[in-house]
Symmetry: C3
Subunit: 206 residues, 3 copies
């Protein structure tokens, strides 16, 4: 029998990367729900909830492991903060999906899918960035690009709202769509928060 | 005459517990305002404002005392952060009460009282948890339970909104109720932030 | 040729003061846009965007300089946090201006200009406070006054909303104005966050 003296494979970096991978799945499903018929939305919404539960589980594993690990590769509260910020991204995407199901929206403005494309790109960039935390290298492109995407999304979202105010006649319908659009924008903000957190950590560790 | 060499009774832990006790009062009054006639709401709203002022006073006492104390039992900014997060819970509950008074709501959907019950439970749990900060013991049950309550409240609040969209015909009435419901949800979020902060502090101090 | 051995003139304190000076410009332009005809709003909105870009540039300079400076006069993440919080004030003011342009609002309730006056006062107080960070003196009046202004603004904003709900008949018009009013309130909150951050820093450094 061999002693295991190397650390466990699932390090904090691996766990953060795993957490981010659930965001990629969630954002893909969010794209699917937009294109789906009202009848199919519920089933896709359920899959997003499963992705959210999976993300929750990883977050709790990270927190528990932080609690029982003596030496951590980054500051304890940076790891905890990052895990919780990644989890927030998932929560807002899941909320948007849930609202689409619950509000039984007839028509979703086509530009909403541009918002979801941004979230998909943010998820991918974030998942690619996590492994680089280990060496703190090549991260500046990531946060610059996320900030650029979020700025772009922010302008697009305001124009979309203004356009909806002109086009949608039924105020109640308008309120529903507005809330979906704003929840998607909050999800994009959440990705920006992760990127800013990574920037701050890199600053501190450099 | 005896010299007083022991520290003052009102330690930071006592002050945080006192602050949390105002949240218990506030959440009870919030329950009362829901059941009250429109004529009685104003008087109850005034009592909630008083509870909010009392919470403000304790928060300022904590900040002043932090400023004049050399050795603190927890990190200075953790105590400041916790006081300010507790104060936020109160502010959101007071805001919800104020909106109920100002908007002269005719009918408040019955499920809103479920939201307030959650806030009452959160207040009690938070007030019970504060004294345990001293020894950092038995706190994990508290934050797990608050997180569970908040998740539950979050799902319930979305379903409530969807139901209101189906039932309330007048869009302006709908906007008013929606804002009250969302402010109550923000208050529940604020309790979760306190719990997460306690978890982070416990993590760091352990 | 003389060697330059003194540090560069643009210290972090100067940069933070410069950042705050853009807030003063932004809040002045926000006042102008309220009084302007619909035709003139776009041009003023563009000037606010320019002020926002200028603020962004200073923020990035601060972040870059933090990255390349070995000894900083305050904690690295306090400077980063403060820069980012000041930048948030600008972003919310710019967002409010952008919404006023995009929503082509016919009439803006007169009390909205009270909200903007508060933002102008907050900007001035913040710009005056920044140079005092160097010696950490005379700052308590600043944060007490900002907190007082924000509390006042918060009450005023709720009353304004309640009044609008009574007066504005068209729900879509109401939704537009409500969003402008709430964005201005978020800007006031952002100034309070800066003040609270300054208070926490002063507490820590004292």
């Amino acid at each position: 029998m061999r002693l295991r003296i190397t650390p466990r494979d699932t390090s904090f970096f691996d766990l953060l990367a795993e957490l981010a991978s659930h965001l990629v799945v969630g954002s893909q499903l969010l794209g699917e729900i937009l294109g789906a018929s009202k009848a199919d939305r519920k089933a896709i919404g359920k899959k997003i909830s499963e992705a959210e539960n999976a993300a929750d589980d990883v977050t709790h594993t990270i927190m528990r492991q932080l609690n029982s690990t003596f030496v951590t590769p980054l500051d304890r509260d940076d790891i905890a903060g990052l895990a919780s910020a990644l989890d927030d991204c998932m929560d807002h995407m899941e909320e948007a999906a849930d609202l689409i199901v619950l509000y039984k929206l007839e028509e979703i403005p086509r530009k909403v899918s541009d918002q979801v494309s941004v979230l998909q790109r943010c998820s991918e960039l974030t998942a690619e960035a996590m492994p680089h935390l280990r060496q703190m290298n090549d991260l500046s492109e990531y946060w610059v690009e996320i900030n650029r995407l979020e700025n772009q999304a922010d302008k697009a979202h305001r124009k979309l709202l203004a356009q909806m105010f002109d086009e949608v006649q039924d105020p109640i319908q308008l309120m529903k769509i507005k809330e979906v659009v704003e929840t998607l924008e909050t999800a994009a903000d959440a990705f920006e928060k992760v990127a800013n957190m990574v920037e701050t950590i890199a600053l501190k560790e450099s």
